[in-house]
């Protein structure tokens, strides 16, 4: 048996309330060595959750464990954080940043940092405020790698990036988990990034976990349905999540287990991850 906990992180009944918004209680966990995508529409509570995990904001209740240790006491060397914009002073150059943060990390490795800057085409004399969105993400990843983080937490790392840069970030994450001790949690609203990369998906809506499990299980749990509205009884219609009808037909999402309850004339197909997010969101906010 290894003494490394096999949970990369675990959230239990995490809550946080703001005026007009209530997160949780939410619970989910990620086994070590995998990538988890964290999805949900804007305002669902993704960033709040991530910030509570890394103690940028105080949680009202619940537990967050990283590698089995309470996140408030765990060594932050373990965790690499990539936020929307780098949480560094904009006027600093990358070189000044290196000197400033190095003392905080016992395991800091200058040679890794230099090598990654070179790989990522980042000029150490550049000021942080002058970095593009993609370069900011890469800089934060370089920092995380240099202090030997085992868990990367990224907030929307691919938003605002073009497809080529998005693919590069995806490659970096896959490269990172080629080491089985490493894990990744990243939030995104670009679900096309996820269908292939993410081993696990956690989907939240209005501050609640709707689904947390493997990507395959999520994709197999639902089917997209479409057809003629007059084929459905009222009871059957209620089974359809995010039901919407228009003059030429209806469409929506259905739990695959309910397929036999709808007439065979209804078309069913594999949903995309986008379908699932859109219909579930529509279903949650209907009437």
């Amino acid at each position: 048996m290894s003494d490394i906990p096999n949970q990369a992180f675990e959230l239990r009944d995490l809550t946080k309330a703001y005026d007009g918004f209530r997160l949780g209680p939410i619970s989910f966990a990620l086994p070590r060595g995998y990538v988890m995508g964290f999805i949900g529409p804007n305002g669902a509570g993704k960033t709040t959750t991530l910030k509570a995990m890394i103690n940028v904001i105080h949680r009202d209740g619940g537990e967050v464990k990283i590698s089995g240790v309470d996140s408030r006491v765990v060594s932050m060397e373990e965790v690499g954080v990539v936020m929307d914009t780098p949480m560094y002073v904009g006027e600093w150059t990358i070189e000044a940043l290196r000197l400033a943060i190095k003392p905080f990390y016992a395991q800091w490795d200058d040679s890794i940092f230099t090598a990654r800057l070179r790989d990522f085409d980042l000029d150490p004399t550049k000021q942080i405020k002058d970095l593009s969105r993609g370069m900011g993400v890469k800089l934060q990843i370089a920092v995380a790698l240099s202090h030997h983080a085992t868990l990367l937490i990224l907030d929307e790392p691919t938003s605002g990036l073009d497809p080529v840069a998005r693919e590069e970030v995806g490659d970096l994450l896959r490269q990172f988990v080629a080491d089985e001790r490493h894990s990744v949690l990243f939030s995104t609203h670009i679900t096309s990034d996820l269908e292939r990369v993410a081993d696990y998906i956690t989907f939240i809506l209005d501050g609640r976990v709707v689904f947390s499990g493997t990507t395959g299980d999520l994709m197999e749990k639902y089917v997209r349905v479409a057809g003629d509205p007059s084929d459905l009884s009222a009871g059957q219609r209620d089974l359809v999540i995010g039901y919407s009808s228009h003059p030429t037909g209806f469409d929506g999402l259905l739990e695959a287990a309910h397929r036999a309850e709808l007439p065979p004339s209804v078309l069913t197909e594999k949903p995309s991850l986008d379908d699932i997010v859109i219909y579930m969101n529509k279903g949650a906010h209907r009437g």
Binding site: Y34, E167, E168, D171, L172, V177, A178, R196, V197
Partner: protein
Amino acid sequence: MRVASGLPSFWGPTQRGTGGPSAHVGLSGWGTLTYRTYCLYCTYTSGPTADSPAHRERQPMKIVISNRSGVAIYEQIREQIKAAIMTGDLRTDEALPSIRGLARDLRVSVITTTRAYADLEAEGYITTMPGKGCFVLPRNEELARENALSQIETALGQAISVAKQNSIGKNDIITRIELLWEDSDE
């Protein structure tokens, strides 16, 4: 671990798909992620792989992943490795790429490659040695024969349905098969 020259070496930047003449990784249309190919032999060869003897001597086996075929990615991986074992492209006792290395190189999730390997193991094609990796098991002749027969049945089934649609009789087909069989012997 070193991968084929067309892929970035560790953390490499952006020279994907532009490797030299011996790059075995053809990233066709990688911008749109239509499909990609990946040379199996490079993954477990140490040193500069493009020049490795194993690579030069042999027809590299490739895994080609389609995003649009509708076939699950783990099934595509499983079937292609199976085919390589059946044809002898992958030999008995040969090491397969590591689950995580293959996931990274094919750009799929670790669970996807894990599932493909688990299926191959359950079907008796490969074995896992803890701490060492996955290896090709001796070819099971009975299994190979059954596999071949099922392929033949599928192909003949297609031929029969074409024949029936066009009112061509059974004897005509049998004659055709005999002719083609003799032709291929020459």
